[in-house]
Symmetry: C2
Subunit: 436 residues, 2 copies
């Protein structure tokens, strides 16, 4: 695509935006504000588009063609299904294709000398390599435990940390708004080992507890530290979103128990893989025991595939500047999230019913970018007299997850920012048309 | 390999057996009995070897060359690791090689219209196709729920069947000897929903219960039916070993809840896949909910691979007689298990310290073979004054699982029959040398 063609496409996009604005006569007073957001959208698009011709194909279809007309169908952004990454992996063609013969990976065992005897060494090596390159977590002196998603690892951690013969189940807390699955995963089997004790800010018992520190936080994207800070507490850090497409990487996380998931780092949710970096050997052993009793290990096919994918990501950030521009996985994710957040903020400003959290800027030690967090979920608040934001948006056929699931009020909803381009574009278009 | 060469190999094998016998001077009185078993071994080998040249490669290496000298190292037959199937899959070369591109299977979702929304339709179709061909289970009017091994499905079933608000956890029983993992899987989280209540024969409470019916049974290979038979009972049939390599298929199983596992049907334990055939929609929904909360679905990579492998198995039993002789998966498994059981029985007879269960013969409606069950595990009893069979065998560096794990006495051990050829051959050689 030549610069002239690019210019023409951009012009027609601006033209459409002007028409869209003209429809909202009542919004003229806010045009200045919207204009500022649009300038940011354009800036993000220009920055990405100017890098290299091949790079432009990583941007949403809306940069190359006007967004499809909204057909009024249901837009489901309830789950954090990371399908926005599909386009990048399509672009990579066969580079991460995995080939597994029928006679491979038959045994239950991967490496009986390892505490986590079902961990494939290729997967473990790829994890260590990537963390070292990105600088988001310390891997030295850590045991790696693989799980069927970080969901299974979360349950493995609870089993590992709670004494078998305690008279009362151990309390598990997290600061609200907390990940909506924590209470469900903790309590669904009515375990005598642990129980959900709600918002960490409200926890006042003088007894042992586990505090989940999710940073960046799901649902609201905030950077977090422990809030209870009492002697008998054990911390579990859920770092699913501590990757440079979502937030500036400020330091290598160095906690006792850190959970990561493949689905939010590279987008491969269907592979169902997560990993824990665990300092204490006994905890790693007990977690491994949990997974042995729960599922006798973790799919080796997925581990082998994940090793290939993680190594590609590591290659893409290691190679020379030319390769970097066209293939750098985190640049793709960073640019796409930047664009989406600019689109969303523009839509929210154009309507007058919603608000979004604001974040402080930071410099990413991995990429060098100075930016504000651009989380995988938007934590949207309905303003004015809308009491139930989830129901309100459902009337507009936008499915989100309401605040009560996260331990707060119904004026909030969590919205996935990780849908496919056409879904996300339709969502921001529709949101911008909702006004009082 | 020509008939002449075959003859020579067989001669040298016989020669070795004669030397081995000569070493056991005290056993001369039992030579007639041993000789009968050996004739059976030879008959099984001959039957397999005479079929086709390519077929002979499916037999253990011991048929083509004398067994390797016993180096005295540890022989681990504690776990049911089904590595004996590796050789078949190696022979199949690229026929079941799976190729997965980086952009495939990214989403959490497989088919949102299906109750089990994370079930890949290719896997579901392959399951139905194979059950129909083998005739071992009714699939009509059943919901399929996929799990990370039947281990996860077992826990999903317990969650599905136990009311959430009962005052007491529901009792779970199984007739001893029962699968050693049942008590552990049931009780390790101290669930308030269910609790292990031990041997079904001893269950006398007048309250709701779940009875696990494992048929053929792990550890002892027996065909089983429910034993409690009270009004408030719910039956769960674990049919992991109801395949024609292990037992005559006498009828298509037609129970409300049936569990199967990929690891014991085709040998792919590392893939961690199982499936449940479930009549009741609500039970299928609750099982799906369990897997959603426990692991948010099941590896799609493994499901796609399993679909290819199961379809190959179905092809191998569908195609013409030529293909059947060389590729029929169940014929491979049937012949190998027949040979191993003959080897084991010969070794047990040559020693005078052990005994094995006997089984009634039956005709397999799938294969037409008339045979006695040849289970995936041997349930060995130490005779004479050996009180702890597991410890006794451990002194001989043979690792097995003792009877107490299965709810019975320590005079029994469970021994995996599914190890690689060289391990199994070393095991039977060593066992035959142990005597009083």
């Amino acid at each position: 695509m030549t610069g002239q063609q690019n210019m023409l496409k951009m012009m027609s996009l601006k033209h459409l935006l002007v028409i869209s604005l003209a429809l909202n006569v009542g919004l003229i007073s806010r045009v200045m504000e919207v204009s500022r957001e649009e300038k940011h959208v354009k800036k993000v698009k220009d920055a990405a588009g100017s890098k290299t011709v091949s790079y432009s194909s990583f941007l949403p279809t809306s940069t190359a063609a006007p967004a499809a007309q909204d057909d009024g169908s249901i837009i489901n952004l309830d789950h954090g299904d990371p399908t926005m990454y599909e386009r990048y992996w399509q672009q990579m063609g066969d580079r991460t294709t995995v080939v597994i013969s029928g006679w491979q990976l038959i045994s239950y065992f991967s490496d009986v000398r390892n505490i986590c005897w079902f961990l494939e060494s290729a997967f473990a090596n790829a994890i260590v390599r990537l963390h070292k390159q990105v600088g988001n977590a310390v891997t030295e002196g850590r045991h790696i435990v693989v799980g069927t998603g970080s969901t299974q690892l979360y349950q493995a951690v609870l089993y590992a940390l709670c004494p078998e013969n305690a008279s009362e189940p151990m309390s598990v807390v997290s600061a609200a708004p907390f990940y909506s699955s924590y209470p469900l995963m903790t309590d669904f089997l009515k375990s005598g080992l642990y129980k959900w004790a709600g918002d960490a800010y409200k926890f006042s018992k003088d007894e042992p507890y586990i505090e989940l520190v999710t940073s960046p936080n799901n649902p609201d994207g905030a950077s977090r530290v422990a809030v209870v800070n009492r002697k008998q507490g054990i911390l579990v850090h859920d770092l699913a979103y501590y990757w440079p497409q979502y937030t500036p990487i400020s330091f290598p996380a160095d906690h006792d128990i850190m959970l990561f998931t493949f689905s939010k780092s590279t987008g491969h949710a269907g592979t169902r893989l997560g990993w824990a970096l665990v300092k204490d050997e006994e905890v790693a052993k007990r977690m491994t025991k949990y997974i042995e009793l729960n599922t006798i290990g973790v799919s080796k096919d997925s581990q082998i595939r994940a090793a290939k994918i993680l190594n590609h990501v590591a290659d893409s950030i290691e190679h020379g500047p030319e390769s970097k521009r066209s293939n750098n996985f985190f640049e793709f994710g960073y640019n796409l999230m930047a664009l989406r957040w600019a689109q969303l903020r523009a839509a929210v400003h154009r309507s007058d019913l919603f608000s979004l959290p604001s974040f402080p800027s930071g410099t990413c030690r991995f990429s060098g970018h100075h930016f504000k967090p651009q989380p995988a979920f938007a934590w949207l608040k309905c303003e004015r007299d809308i009491e139930d934001c989830e129901s309100f948006l459902r009337c507009h056929k936008i499915l989100t997850r309401g605040g009560k699931h996260f331990g707060v009020g119904p004026e909030y909803v969590r919205i996935s920012m990780m849908a496919r381009d056409e879904i996300f574009d339709r969502f921001t278009d529709r949101l911008s048309m909702i006004n009082s």
